[in-house]
């Protein structure tokens, strides 16, 4: 996933493809047309599987739907071939949403199985609905109007569509949607906490991919000139799927190369065609074990760049004020009478807490006392049995994705980041809800998309400068040290210019120097008017920065007050601090 892609590889590939007809070989042009048609489908599926991480193995069902829709509309004389393609796209979008719906509820393997089942159903319907689809005999594919009805004309048409799909998916990849998709894939919890609605985003992507797949189906029917249900094999589905995994997730170029490779391979190894599926599967197995990142990983230069040694994280707390300015007399975040149980375990047994803007409120206590659980309730991951959280008079309800709009941001006990994305891309995800461009505007690279990107990037750079790790902006996040990841999470949280910042053990694993700088940073954030809820075990940090401290024990408040009161509190000392 990279936002500033060199266009060169794509230009080379498409220029070479456009020059193919000059070779004068009809067979090569046929294979190239097939690769282009497959890519139209795979480019959309790539967003679902490669970016979204949804293992839709049975996607051939959409190819089938597109092929039959186009063919039926043309054969019945209802529409010309090109308008029929548009109708097919609509049908594909709807079908894509239906296939994708289980993804919101089912776990990975179940969803994969469900898509396989769906593919079977579509084929059975095609077989049985003889009146419309011709049943087993099939139906003639559409013929496009001149000059697209010649082999060359059709090839260039498919090539143009393939180029268009490449461009569209590149736009999505380098947008807040693409980043959020990958975020849902690799760090679902964190991404939701930043305001991304999983169901909305996934459904949008399924609609889009479904439409592309159906258009590919119409093109496929034209290419074959006649379609029968047995042309839509499980092998084809697996081919699409493997092309993406071989190419590498989160990449556009990788799956493009993968698709070309897998279309050409059976032709080069024609004598071995009986073993072709076996070889594909073996190739997939090897890739999964040896090179899970696929071709894209091989091409990714950032992995190999040497990072400077002895890096220091030096935040610039003085810049915080330019980012966040909040009035201090805004409503507080109030937890009242909170009760939360997991089965028989009482995680939170009656808690009241007030987080005022411009104040740092510490939350300490032994392990298992309910500190992180409290944060999770505020974030919306758990619904309490009794009591609740409100901002001012407005109660907080709904899932975690509603919190970002209220200006609530957080970090996590273990850093949750997207390893293969760059640091700045990770940070930009924090601002996803601030984007204005719709998905359609992004796909077509309309001006609002560019202004969104510019705004988000500028904002992210500012956050990184505040944190002090701007030198690592373009490095892959999985190369960062643990402490750098912790600070990166804070940068990500700052993207929202939050009213309330929830920090879950931000000092864990930090060196003493880094803890000191963290403290200065938190103070600056407080000074800017943000209310900070700090869950920590490092009591020095707590007593240094906090204005108020609440001590939890066994889900209940043990003591609350100023740091000096807490430090002297007898029970706190015996239960937690030690004397």
């Amino acid at each position: 996933m990279r936002s500033r892609l060199p266009a060169l590889p794509y230009l080379l590939i498409f220029a070479a493809a456009a020059a193919l007809p000059l070779a004068g070989d009809d067979y090569i042009v046929l294979i190239a047309t097939r690769a282009a048609v497959y890519w139209v489908l795979v480019s959309g599926l790539n967003l679902v599987v490669g970016f979204g991480g949804q293992l839709a193995i049975g996607w051939v069902s959409l190819l089938t739907i597109g092929a039959y829709t186009t063919s039926v509309f043309v054969a019945r004389g209802w529409l010309g071939a090109l308008p029929a393609l548009v109708v097919a796209a609509l049908a594909g979008a709807v079908a894509g949403a239906i296939v994708g719906l289980p993804a919101l509820r089912l776990r990975t393997f179940y969803f994969a199985m469900a898509t396989l089942g769906f593919a079977t159903i579509v084929t059975q319907v095609a077989l049985a609905w003889t009146g419309v689809t011709g049943g087993g005999i099939g139906i003639a594919g559409p013929t496009l109007p001149a000059p697209l009805d010649t082999q060359m004309g059709f090839y260039l048409f498919c090539l143009a569509l393939a180029a268009l799909c490449t461009w569209m998916t590149l736009n999505v990849a380098a947008s807040r949607f693409g980043r959020a998709l990958v975020g849902l894939r690799d760090a679902e919890v964190a991404t939701e906490a930043m305001g991304v609605s999983k169901s909305r985003l996934l459904m949008t992507v399924f609609l889009f991919s479904g439409a592309l797949a159906a258009v590919a189906g119409g093109l496929f029917a034209t290419l074959q000139s006649y379609i029968t249900p047995d042309a839509f094999t499980f092998d084809l589905s697996v081919l699409f799927f493997i092309a993406i995994l071989i190419g590498g997730r989160g990449s556009i170029l990788g799956p493009l190369l993968g698709t070309i490779l897998l279309t050409i391979l059976p032709e080069l190894a024609a004598p071995l065609v009986a073993w072709s599926t076996f070889l594909y599967a073996a190739l997939l197995l090897v890739i999964v074990i040896v090179l899970p990142g696929g071709i894209a990983d091989l091409l990714d230069q950032r992995r190999r760049r040497k990072l400077p040694e002895n890096r220091q994280i030096v935040p610039r707390p003085e810049l915080v004020a330019s980012l966040i300015t909040r009035q201090v007399d805004r409503p507080a975040l109030i937890i009242s009478g909170l009760h939360l149980s997991f089965g028989g375990v009482r995680a939170i047994d009656g808690l009241d807490l007030e987080l005022r803007p411009g104040e740092v409120h510490g939350l300490i206590g032994p392990n298992g006392s309910g500190k992180t659980t409290t944060l999770n309730v505020i974030s919306g991951f758990y619904q309490p049995q009794e009591g609740g959280v409100r901002v001012g008079d407005a109660p907080l309800s709904g899932g975690p994705q509603t919190r970002a709009a209220l200006g609530i941001a957080r970090t996590f006990q273990t850093p949750r980041a997207i390893g293969e994305a760059s640091v700045i891309e990770n940070v930009m995800i924090g601002g996803t809800v601030e984007g204005r461009a719709s998905f359609a505007e992004t796909v077509l690279a309309l001006p609002r998309h560019w202004s969104d990107e510019k705004t988000l990037r500028t904002q992210a750079e500012r956050c990184l400068r505040i944190i002090g790790i701007e030198a690592l902006a373009d490095e892959r996040a999985d190369r960062l040290q643990h402490s750098e990841l912790r600070f990166m999470e804070i940068a990500r949280a700052l993207m929202l210019c939050p009213s309330f910042l929830l920090l879950d053990e931000p000092a864990a694993g930090l060196s003493p120097d880094e803890i000191t700088r963290l403290g200065a940073l938190i103070k600056a954030i407080r000074a800017a008017g943000c209310g900070v809820l700090l869950v920590e075990h490092h009591v020095d940090l707590i007593f240094d920065v906090c204005d108020r401290v609440t001590v939890l024990n066994l889900g209940r408040e043990l003591a609350a007050g100023t740091p000096s009161e807490i430090r002297a509190h007898k029970e706190v000392v015996s239960a937690y601090l030690g004397g």
Partner: protein, 416 residues
């Protein structure tokens, strides 16, 4: 004929370079792979009229339902080797360009384009599978490639739209006619149950069959598609029996399902005849029968050329052919008609070149259009510019399934 006689006098070992003499199914794939590896993947230069005669062979050699292609393949290779051993055609050798399409229409379209554009074959035999043929017909028509194929779907042959495409085997309609004819006029039964599998062929064949039965005044008491993997067919058989069916018409290549139907018929103690698709008589079915007696009263569409008469003899032309095959081509696990058809397919091309002196597409198509009662091993073909279904309906007969010997069958009772 004299040339053939001469061949018989040569020592069999001279004919073959390969060490394996008997081609069985296991080795068919390896042998064809060997032949394929000899094929250049690169484009050939344009061939003069003096180079080898290239016959493209689109074979579903592996994948589901590969038995027919494997059978055809044996006939194809035998013909090519026989012709080349006799010096070829006007000095030109015959070369078979095989592509295994696995029954996949996508691979078939790719393969056809390869054969037309790069391998520059003179004619194409195949594909063997209707789904593939439906996709490749248009491609071959555009290139005016002489095409002979054995696929049964009726719409594949259209002399106006596809003047280059010829059918060597009966169409599904001809099979259907023979079966229906036998049922109504020989067995003299009007209550029929018609079933097929759930593939494309099964669905369409049943629909066509039912329509034709009704038109002829029969009473179709039951019609259904049965999933080929369904493990127990008792409910279906019971329903057919209870509906009063006196004969069971089966349209399917799924040998597993057909064997189950026969086994269940025996279990129920029902003696209705089972008639239909030639696959009913295949060796695969025999293997799956619980008792050999379950194969009694099973009659399927067959061919006069590959049927034993009342004295147990094949027609002279076929008997001669079988004698030539002895020791070189195994018929135990295949059907004679496949081997015969594959042989004829090659001979039809070489005879065209021989007769016209040219291997251009016009020459071959023109020759085929002019054939009247051409004496093939599989059938006596007649093609005209208006009629590209060359197999004579009167040579489609009904065979008795349990009489399989060396790939051929006895005529069903009631045939003269």
């Amino acid at each position: 004929m004299a040339r053939l006689g001469l061949n018989l006098m040569k020592c069999p070992a001279d004919f073959w370079e390969e060490p394996t003499l008997l081609m069985t199914r296991r080795h068919a794939m390896l042998a064809s792979t060997g032949a394929l590896l000899g094929t250049t993947p690169f484009a050939r230069p344009a061939l003069a009229e003096s180079g080898p005669i290239l016959i493209g062979w689109l074979a579903a050699l592996t994948g589901p339902s590969s038995a027919p292609a494997i059978g055809f393949d044996r006939g194809v290779r035998f013909a090519a080797d026989e012709i080349n051993a006799a010096g070829g055609v006007k000095g030109r050798k015959v070369e078979i360009v095989t592509r295994d399409t696995q029954g996949d229409p996508t691979k078939a379209v790719n393969a056809v384009q390869d054969m037309i554009g790069r391998q520059k074959v003179n004619s194409i035999w195949g594909p063997t599978n209707s789904g593939e043929a439906l996709a490749t017909t248009a491609v071959m028509a555009r290139a005016k490639m002489p095409n002979m194929h054995p696929c049964v779907v009726d719409t594949l042959i259209d002399p106006a739209k596809y003047p280059n495409a010829f059918r060597i085997a009966p169409s599904n309609g001809q099979w259907d006619d023979a079966v229906r004819n036998y049922c109504l006029n020989v067995l003299k039964v009007k209550e029929v149950a018609v079933v097929g599998d759930t593939t494309g062929y099964g669905v369409s064949a049943v629909a066509a069959s039912v329509a034709a039965f009704k038109k002829d005044g029969a009473n179709v008491v039951y019609q259904a598609q049965i999933d080929a993997t369904q493990p127990d067919v008792t409910p279906d058989m019971l329903r057919m029996k209870n509906a009063g069916a006196k004969v069971l018409v089966v349209w399917s290549v799924a040998t597993g399902m057909e064997a189950r139907l026969m086994n269940e018929r025996a279990t129920l103690g029902w003696d209705a005849p089972i008639i239909g698709h030639p696959a009913l008589g295949s060796g695969d079915v025999r293997q799956l029968l619980e008792k050999p007696a379950n194969w009694d009263k099973v009659y399927m569409a067959g061919y006069a050329s590959c049927s034993y008469d009342a004295n147990g003899k094949l027609p002279p032309r076929t008997a001669d052919f079988v004698a030539r095959l002895a020791g070189k081509v195994s018929l135990q696990d295949s059907s004679l008609w496949w081997v015969a058809a594959g042989y004829d397919a090659v001979k039809l091309v070489t005879d065209a070149v021989n007769a016209t002196g040219s291997s251009t597409s016009e020459a071959i198509i023109g020759y085929w259009n002019g054939l009247r009662d051409y004496p093939g091993m599989f059938g006596t073909y007649t093609w005209t510019p208006q009629q590209h279904n060359g197999y004579p309906t009167k040579e489609v007969v009904m065979s008795q399934a349990n009489s399989q010997k060396d790939g051929a069958f006895k005529l069903a009772p009631g045939y003269a």
